[in-house]
């Protein structure tokens, strides 16, 4: 599931909802059900990982003359 790298949280959540609804409808053959379940599990993990980032970081940012980024901790 390499495509998830380009995914954002909202898209992943939306797809997960669809998969769950599909599974809950009880329709679809077994093989496909298992396939989308696996996809669902991967999406869930992706979402959970996104939610794990629990620490806020704040840094001052500035650009030097050459347009290079410079960051330093902010003592706010």
């Amino acid at each position: 599931m390499t495509e998830q790298k380009d995914m954002n949280f909202e898209t992943a959540l939306g797809e997960l909802e669809k998969i769950v609804a599909q599974l809950e409808s009880g329709q679809g053959d077994l093989e496909n059900s298992i396939k989308i379940y696996e996809r669902g599990v991967a999406l869930r993990k992706f979402c959970e990982d996104k939610l794990k980032e629990a620490e806020a970081r704040i840094e001052k940012i500035s650009l030097d003359g050459a347009g290079q980024v410079k960051t330093e901790p902010l003592d706010a």
């Binding site: 809950e24 059900s33 620490e55 840094e59 001052k60 940012i61 706010a76």
Partner: protein, 467 residues
């Protein structure tokens, strides 16, 4: 009368006295041009070292040196004015042609050009009404350009990874934003320090917007959303956020911008142009990120549904399989079953036959016992006695019956004769019958076009019903 004339009136030099003496003796003091100019300069500067002047700005020019050259005017006079570079940076109002302002400063002269002018130290807009009017005009102009159209507003990402905040590094605003972000969903925040008040503010905020946008897409420092924020303040305090160049910079930002300028009641042009307006800096943090706890709960619920949904499908398929498996009986088993059934049936067959024979035999025995000749003889004798008795009674009664019958018959015949319809017909009446030979007794049963038969005393004719 030129403005210069007014000034000359104020020169601390009495006008030449007219007397009868010769021009030479009573002639006024003679100055060189430089001397008189210097004297005039001192006079002006001494008398007008600190003045407040109200007027409308006209022809504002910013020189390469950074000095601002402008003039103040009203309906009758014009006053040249200069704002040196060092002061220009601190003005609370960006000088613009047509602005009605109150300036403070001093008057001086420029001897080289025979000019006098005002050196501006501070500048403020003349009254809030004028300021609001100017803002409204600017707002209309920018709105007409479509800068505030909803169609060009970008959507704010649902969950940004990096948030860029442009505000003062000190003060409550950044603390409020970080506090609320930590409550809801901690994110990486890059702060672009910018003054949010004074003449430098607009250009510094613009630099922040442009700086963040200049970071390459995909760079870990590039924010997914920008927050432009400052706390509440007076209309003048918030003026940088009404700056036209800032409004245009926000409009040009590729990164979506949330504005949070002042309190809920304050509305700046930045709020109009931003992709999303938050009432306060705290509100901006709320609009920037969802609540992490809620999302975790939602994911947990989805996870449960995912598992139970899959389990259901597995259970259903498994049930279906076992249902089908039941129907799939091994041939050997089928054979065994049939063989067993046959055994059972053949066993019952023998027993049934034996049973049947025994029942029949019992019946036979019972019947045979009742089959005795004595009983029949007795009944035969009894019945023959009854028969002869009945014969006697019959012969006796038949005689009477015949006799009475004859008598009855003749009386009935005569009665019949009397009642016969033949007699009635003889009297001229007729009998009408329909095609089915049924008696017609009412005109209602006569249908048009049907035939009827009419019987009279001497015969029968057919007639058709006409109406």
């Amino acid at each position: 009368m030129s403005p210069q004339d007014n000034l000359f009136d104020l020169i601390d030099n009495p006008p030449p006295e007219k007397d009868d003496a010769g021009p030479k003796a009573n002639a006024p003091e003679e100055y060189s041009v430089s001397e008189i100019s210097q004297k005039l300069k001192r006079t002006v500067e001494d008398n007008f070292g600190y003045v407040r002047v109200r007027g409308e700005l006209s022809r504002v020019t910013v020189a390469k040196s950074g000095h601002i050259y402008t003039s103040l005017k009203d309906d009758q006079a014009v006053l040249d004015a200069i704002c040196w570079r060092g002061t220009a940076g601190n003005l609370s109002v960006r000088p613009e042609e047509g602005l009605d302002v109150v300036v403070t400063g001093r008057l001086t002269t420029y001897p080289g050009r025979s000019n006098y002018q005002m050196i501006i130290e501070t500048m403020e807009l003349a009254g809030e009404g004028a300021l609001l009017k100017m803002l409204e005009e600017r707002r209309k102009k920018l709105a007409a350009e479509g800068l505030f159209d909803d169609a060009r507003k970008k959507s704010i990402p649902f969950l940004p990874n990096v948030i860029g905040v442009i505000t003062s590094p000190t003060g409550a605003v950044i603390r409020d934003i970080m506090h609320r972000l930590n409550d809801r969903f901690p994110r990486t925040v890059y702060l672009w320090p910018a003054m949010v008040q004074g003449d430098q503010a607009a250009s510094q905020v613009i630099a922040g917007i442009k700086g963040f946008n200049s970071l390459p897409v995909g760079s870990s420092h590039r924010p997914d959303v920008l927050i432009v924020a400052r706390g509440g303040g007076s209309l003048e305090d918030l003026m940088p956020f009404n700056d036209e160049a800032l409004v245009r910079a926000i409009a040009a930002s590729d990164i979506p911008v949330i504005s949070a300028v002042g309190h809920e009641t304050d509305t700046s042009l930045s709020d109009y142009v931003a992709d999303l307006r938050a009432p306060t800096p705290t509100g901006a943090a709320e609009k920037a990120v969802p609540v992490r706890r809620d999302l975790i709960t939602a994911i947990k619920q989805i996870d449960m549904r995912l598992i139970s949904g899959t389990q259901r499908i597995l259970r259903e398929q498994s049930n279906r399989l076992s249902g089908l498996a039941r129907g799939l009986v091994h041939p050997k088993t089928q054979l065994e079953n049939k063989s067993q059934k046959l055994d059972s049936l053949s066993g019952r067959l023998d027993a049934a036959l034996r049973q049947n024979i025994s029942v029949q035999r019992q019946k036979l025995t019972g019947t045979a016992a009742r089959l005795s000749l004595n009983g029949y003889k007795q009944r035969l004798k009894h019945q023959s006695e009854s028969l002869s008795l009945l014969k006697k009674r019959l012969s006796a009664s038949s005689h009477h019956i015949t006799k009475d019958a004859h008598k009855n018959l003749s009386s009935l015949s005569s009665l019949l004769e009397t009642l016969s319809f033949q007699r009635t017909l003889d009297r001229g009446y007729a009998i009408i019958k329909d095609e089915n030979d049924k008696l017609v007794t009412s005109t209602q049963s006569m249908q048009q076009g049907h035939n009827v038969s009419i019987q009279m005393k001497d015969g029968q004719r057919t007639a058709e019903i006409r109406d």
